[in-house]
């Protein structure tokens, strides 16, 4: 089978997965105990208010009769598949879902991008460094650091870091103030993301996203460090490296061409899997740093039974997951030609 027909087959197989997960979403949100009307109404559960809300989001018609579920289901599926995402029911009631996603996605992407980058740039070099110097003091301290980072839960680390940065001036007796260091930024809330070509805006955007990105990337960083170290250790002791060394290949080439490239293989699924974790993990970090991105939007929508919004977000997430999965398998075949297509 050629690479391209393999690719096509993977794409076709993704369709039932997509349909199944969308149906599941509908069942959970509309046939479970979640009631969007109650979510809007809150404590004061006045019947007149309830009815008006139900009518305004369109789950009962003007005469007060409920719209049958099957019709809601058909409309839900066709709208999604034609990318007509509709209007939200509860969260920012009545706004276009596309608009909500468009305003919030850049922040989540910016956050995700930097957390992956922080993890990659710190975790992998550190892991390789430790792997090339096994059982030395520097290996131990790097490994230990990796375990600590891996172990710290996001919600805890986020609170500690944000509280520390906010109080940095007071705690250091005026010696260091994070808010005014290099450029003026806030600790909490999303960074401004317009016109990033201006170096100052860019600096603000990066500085403000670094603390949450560090938190979000912390466990991945530890993971990559640990896996990178093991992978290097394994390849260092493998036959082909020994052979190369016996042939007199220079150490630099051995490290970069033989060890580094082979050690990357186990890291690929780790890195791609992180992309999924970032979608889920960003909820907590977005909440604590008040970034109000996609993660928070999704949680709000899901808890409040906002079918159009939660459904659309899941649809987008599922699409992303499928694409990344296919991409990952594709990457394998590029890095390691021994992996077949069957």
């Amino acid at each position: 089978m050629s690479r391209w027909s393999y690719f096509a087959r993977r794409l076709v197989l993704a369709i039932p997965v997509l349909l199944f997960s969308m149906s599941l979403t509908f069942i959970i949100l509309r046939m479970g105990p979640l009631d969007p009307v109650s979510a809007i109404v809150g404590t004061n559960n006045d019947p007149g208010y309830r009815r008006a809300v139900a009518r305004s989001i369109g789950i009962i018609d003007a005469q007060g009769n409920p719209i049958p579920l099957w019709r809601q289901y058909v409309a839900f599926m066709t709208d999604l598949l034609t990318f007509d995402l509709g209007q939200a029911w509860v969260v920012n009631r009545g706004s276009d879902v596309t608009e909500l996603i468009a305003t919030r996605a850049p922040r989540t992407i910016w956050l995700g991008f930097w957390s992956v980058l922080v993890a990659l740039l710190v975790g992998i070099p550190l892991g390789f460094y430790a792997g090339l110097r096994p059982n030395t003091l520097s290996d131990y301290s790097a490994s230990f650091g990796g375990i600590v980072w891996r172990a710290m839960p996001n919600f805890w680390l986020a609170i500690i870091i944000s509280s520390f940065l906010v109080a940095s001036n007071q705690l250091t007796g005026g010696a260091f103030n994070w808010s005014t260091w290099i450029v003026d930024t806030k600790v909490i809330t999303a960074p401004p993301l317009e016109d990033l070509t201006d170096p100052e805006n860019l600096a603000v955007a990066i500085k403000q996203i670094l603390p949450p990105a560090l938190v979000l990337g912390s466990s991945s960083m530890g993971n990559e460090m640990r896996v990178g170290r093991t992978a290097v250790l394994e390849t260092v002791n493998s036959n082909y490296v020994e052979t190369a060394r016996a042939k007199g290949v220079p150490e630099r080439i051995i490290v970069w061409k033989h060890i580094f490239r082979n050690a990357l293989i186990p890291l690929v699924p780790i890195i791609t899997a992180e992309a999924f974790i970032l979608i889920g993990g960003s909820v907590i970090v977005e909440e604590i740093f008040a970034i109000n991105g996609l993660g928070k939007l999704f949680i709000d929508a899901a808890f409040q039974g906002d079918l159009p919004l939660a459904g659309s977000l899941i649809y987008v997430f599922v699409l992303l997951t499928l694409i990344i999965n296919i991409l990952q398998d594709f990457l394998y075949t590029l890095i390691d030609p021994r992996i077949g297509y069957d």
Partner: protein, 649 residues
Amino acid sequence: MTDSSGLSRRRFLQATGGAAGVAALAGCLGLGGDDGNDGGNDSDGNGNGNGTGNGGGDGNESTPEPQSGGTFRMINSTMTTFDPVAAGDEASGYVVTQIHDALMNYPNGDTSVENLLASNVERSDDDTTYTFTLNDATFHDGNTVTAQDFVYSFERLARSPKSVRSYFILDSLGIAHETDGDGNYVAESLNVSAEDEKTLKITLAEPFHMTLQMLAYSSFAVIPQDAIGIDIDAERTGSGEEAEDAPEYTEFATSSPIGCGPFSFDFWEKGTAAEVSKYDDYYGESAYLDKVHWQVIEDDNAMFNYAMSQNVDRFNVPTPRYDRSKVKNTSKDDQGRTVGEYGPFQANGETVDYLKVPEVSTFYIAFNTQEVPKPVRQAFAHAINQESLSSRVFKDRQAPAYHLTPPLVFPGENPAENYDSHVQENYPYGIGESQVPEAKQVMEDAGYSSNEKFELTLTHYESTTWNEMAQIIRQQLQSAHIDMTIESAEFSTLLDRGQNGNLQAYTLGWIADWPAGDNFLQLINPPNTYTGETGVLTYTNWGRDEATEASQSAAEAWETIQANPGPGDDAEQARADAYLKMEEANWEDVILVNMFHGATERFKYKYMHMPAFGAMGESRQKFTSFWKEQESRRTVTATPQTPANGSGE
């Protein structure tokens, strides 16, 4: 059937008899002529000139002269819309209150009302027709506010598919109108007319003494009749997934709402921030502030940290970060509000101004009487110690509750004292103590023992404080042979399950729609407790299978309340007696265990000057008299970070 099945005004409003409301009404009519008319232009003098460069005013502590300029910044939760008829939530309410004006107003959120857009009010002899003369106001787009605009706005409130408060105008206030065979409102049949450009006449189906209070709600605000530009019915079309708001409507409700309030709309970035700026041609006293900025933050920790970096001027302190020993120099005013200072904060060393305003609200644990037998409910009431819970869990920030009716609207001359003395004399389950032995006794008398425990599930809405309280109660109940499971649910699940009768015990609260006792006691009028019915308010099924003595007594008392709607002393006394009878009936059968009455606290940095708000809540306070010391803070000029200041229009 829509209207007949809901709570009609007969059932839940007309009898409203809070002394506060009646007094306010009288005061309001008396003031009518000379109150609202002025105010227009004389405030501009000290207005724009000062700006940020004002270097004076050093040292003078006593009564500082208000300074103009600056942005007032506060935190808000997610807003949904700025269309006055579609906004039902508090977060949107903050913004709507600044943009839109109605005929009447609760000044600073107090429970009394005064004229706002109305310069004069006349009531006909039969008490059904009100004639309003309007102030010379203009909308933010420059057009004059006319009586026709009100006719349109009221029609929208009654008929718009986006309106969530149509029952306010059709049932609660009860403006005369026609209904079709199904009880639905017939378009344009509302008895509201524009006599001339400045005279508005409304006619009620029957007299109603809370009319002016109702008209102060922001739902009754005026918008220009051409603001949306499409037919009212076309604002939202289709149903189910297909339902869509018309683009013209969305434009009005979310990106260019037009009102005639003291601030005009600047921009709203959904889920991030909203901003309004001073309207210079405001017909009343125009604002000192240049802008108001709301930053959307919902996480407690994030809010607190954001405030600690002084990114906002007014904020809250989440209970885990709250230290009651830091509240100092407090005094109480005549409305029961606590004024003082709080601090210093560990994070920034600042001491801030503190205000605590008791709210007209009650939070309770309710029992489905079909599932939970009376001895168990009584054991709960015995075991629960409201005072120690409010002290341990809330750090005394909320007041313990014994009545469903909050102290502020309790009947009598001295509501708060009456409240306390009635509790002292009559509360059967122990005040300020946890009567575990009594609870055990009640259960053992009913045949339960350590081998035969009663099992039940308490479902609380998502809240760490309720969870903590539930844990404490569970421990206490264990020795009283009750095995309690704790479960938490989002509102979206909790209310739905309650409606279907699938809750054994649950927590919920009630925040006053109007400041009066029957607004609360309707919750325990037995017919309002039947699950599965449309009008259900608490999911307790009180006396549904078999009427008890107490449930009959409560039902009779409710009838008395309804039969005595008038403002006279006799009627008031009859209502007051009935209120007490209902409270005592609830104590007897323990339908609800009242837990605490809410209070709102406000923390603000000292450079910010803002009057205390009243019991109707901060979201009903207009920010016109707020001002900010100009030279004291770098943050005054720092524009809140938002995407491009120019993006708003």
